[in-house]
């Protein structure tokens, strides 16, 4: 790996190496820029460093001190964080979905939320680029939305849990399909196809999972980028209205890396936290915050589930956890008393996760918990990924307490509003019908889970109502960019990683174009 000195400014310092930052590191380095991508977490080598052990693998999560409050405090730490090079894609569920085209214009076309300042057809091209970069294994025909090209790899075989989703959907007369997944169904280079080990969401130890760690970052390194791991960026410095570099903590001391441009890609809590913590004399309310929207409009996604017991042995933990999906309620607007869409997928919880679900979600303890755990092979469930509407009251602010680096920690305030509650009711009822149609009994509802983080530095066409423009460039500081889930004006009913990567590819092209025009 090439390494840059701290005495000379590089073209780009990227803060964060996940879906946004890692993708940009590859694309910008390949375009000839000098790039340092920093991550607070370590640079793992999955073949040596990852164990088939849920507890051990918690090392992948961001579990630094934070305060959560509001009417529905968010559980942070696993499915909404990552402190590793590669970000949360190192342990994501690999679900790689495109937004419904209308969801990019939710305000204009569907009457809620906000519009994205980009055209879906343009995003469609970038989706295709990312799907090819990740060799997504998807269905031969996708049942919803406009035509999309053939997925680069074929879908994986369905496990029994996925078959239950399929039979339920068929009984209810709606479409379902194999979930497009970022794990290999055939060899690719030195990577083996997926061995269906099932520990995907605690980190893939075989490198079949096409995370940022094994796709974009090797490309970034080959193109001369430096990945500086264990580097916690605490402040972005500015001078005369432009950023000049970053203060970062590494090996026990604060250091300064000068840069001609800075891209923040720390996900929807750390990104606004860094921008707010970087407040200085020039920008007393934090960087890029003339709109006052940095930290506001935090959107999680609804992650409620219905579980039941079936006679057959399901062993739902075999293979990737979400092999089948229905996006029916992303594309069908009739029959709803709420705005927005949701999808639902088959599930494959690992043992500790399942014990937590049964104890926390269902209130089982002691012998009752042990008895229910013994029936795990017959448990089957469906889980939603549902749209949360942007609301300025859901936000990330700075608490007065400081963390191990001496940086003010984030306070994350969140509440479901009526729209989310109505969507949850509908989704739980529908998923219950689906499970019932497959003969599942003893059904129960897990009603308070959430996943993903988006929307605390939204993009838009108006500097007064957005933090960055359609190029993910700060309205206030021309050499500061934000590119991760934070820039989402709305979240749709699909997992966000593919959209973040597509937006990163687009941002790279916009940077190239701007650079070309300037020179």
């Amino acid at each position: 790996m090439r390494s840059y000195s701290e005495t000379e400014a590089v073209d780009f310092v990227i803060v964060g190496t996940g879906a946004g930052g890692g993708t940009l590191a590859a694309r910008l380095a390949e375009a000839g820029f000098s790039v340092i991508a920093m991550d607070a977490g370590p640079y793992w080598r999955p073949l040596e460093d990852f164990a088939s052990d849920e507890t051990h693998q918690e090392k992948l999560y961001w579990t630094d001190e934070r305060i959560v409050d509001g009417e529905h405090p968010i559980k942070l730490g696993s499915n909404n964080s990552g402190k590793s090079v590669g970000g949360s894609t190192v342990h994501f569920a690999m679900v790689s979905l495109r937004f419904r085209p209308e969801h990019f214009k939710a305000r204009t076309k569907l009457g809620y939320g906000a519009d994205w300042p980009v055209d879906w057809r343009e995003m469609w091209r970038y989706y295709a680029e990312v799907e090819d970069a990740l060799k997504i294994a998807g269905p031969v025909r996708y049942p919803w939305g406009p035509h999309r090209g053939r997925y680069p790899y074929r879908a994986h075989p369905l496990n029994a849990a996925a078959e239950y989703l399929a039979r339920g959907a068929e009984a209810l007369g709606i479409d379902w399909t194999e979930t497009p997944l970022a794990t290999l169904s055939a060899p690719r280079g030195k990577a083996h196809p997926c061995v269906y080990r099932g520990f995907c969401v605690t980190g893939c130890s075989t490198n079949a999972k096409q995370s940022v760690l094994v796709t974009w970052l090797p490309r970034a390194l080959a193109a001369g980028a430096e990945i500086r791991d264990l580097a916690m960026v605490g402040q972005i410095e500015t001078k005369n209205g432009r950023v000049t570099g970053v203060q970062y903590h590494r090996e026990g001391e604060w250091r300064f890396q000068p840069a001609r441009n800075v891209i923040v890609a720390g996900y929807a809590i750390e990104t606004p936290r860094l921008l707010l913590n970087s407040a200085n004399g020039e920008f007393p309310n934090g960087l890029a915050n003339s709109s006052g929207l940095v930290g506001k409009n935090l959107m999680v996604q609804l992650n409620q589930a219905v579980w039941g017991i079936v006679e057959d042995e399901v062993r739902s933990y075999k293979g990737p956890p979400s092999l089948a999906i229905s996006e029916h309620w992303n594309y069908e607007d009739r029959g709803k008393d709420y705005f927005g869409g949701w999808s639902y997928m088959s599930q494959g919880p690992l043992p500790i996760t399942w014990a937590r679900t049964l104890s926390g979600g269902r209130g089982l303890w002691g012998q009752a918990l042990i008895d229910e755990m013994a029936r795990v092979n017959h448990s089957v469930g469906l889980k939603m990924v549902g749209e949360v509407l942007p609301d300025e009251r859901n936000r990330v602010t700075l608490a007065d307490e400081c963390d191990q680096y001496g940086l003010r920690i984030p306070r994350v305030t969140f509440a479901f509003r009526d729209n989310e509650k109505a969507m949850i009711r509908h989704a739980l009822d529908f998923m219950d019908q689906s499970l019932a149609a497959t003969g599942a009994t003893e059904r129960w509802q897990e009603s308070d889970d959430t996943c993903h983080l988006n929307g605390t530095a939204r993009m838009g066409n108006d500097p007064a109502t957005s933090v960055v423009n359609s190029d993910c460039r700060s309205w206030d500081i021309p050499n500061l960019w934000i590119c991760d889930g934070s820039i989402f004006p709305t979240v749709g009913g699909v997992n966000p990683s593919l959209t973040i990567q597509a937006m990163a590819c687009r941002t790279a092209d916009r940077i190239l174009l701007a650079n070309h025009e300037a020179s």
């Binding site: 790899y153 075989p157 194999e178 169904s185 060899p187 196809p193």
Partner: protein, 271 residues
């Protein structure tokens, strides 16, 4: 090439084709049905039928004869087990939910595989007929035999095409069995229609014979590309591409060469 080839050579070629097909079926169904834990007792039948088919047809190919009745029971048995297998495999595919119809075709019991056993039985029966008939009545078998081989080749291409599509043609060599055997099958069918044997057909069939053997090598390499490679052979021989499958092309192309010789003899006899 002017000499009329010996009749025994034709019968031997066709019997060798039947034996090769049966060998492919025995090894392949042994692996795949072991993978399926022989859940249904009927899953041993193709092993038995193919095993008997190897003994009978290999013996015939080498000029031995275990007797007429054992031959008939072997050939008819193969065809019967193959036809039954097609039904079982279709049921296995259709009982699954199949979005867009593809997941079952990719991952359930392979739709076309039992047909190889039917073809092996048909070829074995044809070899026996060739041996039993008086010389002047043998040439007439050339045309139907050519058609059987051409159709069999195209069916095998369809199966390889589907499963290589499942593998996303990640290696360009995966296109070989999709490109070459259809050319051989088309040439053979054209020769059957015109009643004359072209040298190009012989070349294409010869290349298809070789392709089936080279395919084994490719599939051995394919197994190595799974996690743990051949060190983890007990898992990967089941997870990787089926090592015994490609010689089905070899078997059908061998019998096709036999058909080509008959077509040539017919031309010489009837002008």
């Amino acid at each position: 090439m002017e000499d009329v080839p010996s009749r025994n050579l034709v019968a031997s070629l066709v019997a060798a084709g039947a034996a090769t097909l049966a060998s492919s079926v025995l090894a392949d169904s042994a692996l795949e049905h072991y993978r399926g834990s022989f859940r249904n007792p009927a899953m041993v039948l193709p092993l038995a039928a193919a095993g008997l088919g190897i003994v009978v047809n290999a013996g015939r190919a080498l000029g031995r004869d275990e007797g007429r009745s054992i031959g008939i029971s072997s050939h008819v048995g193969s065809m019967g087990v193959g036809a039954t297998g097609l039904g079982f495999h279709a049921y296995n595919i259709l009982k699954r939910p199949t979005a867009g119809g593809m997941n079952g075709l990719f991952y359930a019991a392979p739709a076309g595989a039992p047909a190889a056993l039917i073809l092996s039985g048909l070829l074995g029966r044809t070899a026996d007929t060739l041996r039993a008939r008086p010389a002047e009545q043998r040439d007439a078998i050339g045309r139907p035999l050519a058609v059987i081989c051409a159709v069999g080749l195209l069916g095998t291409v369809a199966e390889a095409g589907l499963l290589h599509f499942r593998g996303a043609y990640h290696n360009p060599f995966m296109w070989l069995p999709i490109v070459l055997p259809p050319m051989a099958a088309t040439a053979l069918a054209r020769d059957a229609a015109s009643g004359s044997a072209h040298p190009m057909t012989q070349m294409l069939l010869g290349a298809t014979v070789a392709l089936g053997l080279v395919g084994v090598g490719f599939h051995i390499y394919g197994v190595a590309r799974n996690m743990g490679g051949w060190r983890n052979w007990r898992q990967n021989i089941l997870a990787g591409p089926p090592v015994p499958a490609p010689p089905a092309f070899t078997g059908l192309a061998l019998a096709g060469l036999g058909a080509l010789l008959l077509l040539r003899q017919r031309k010489e006899h009837h002008g």
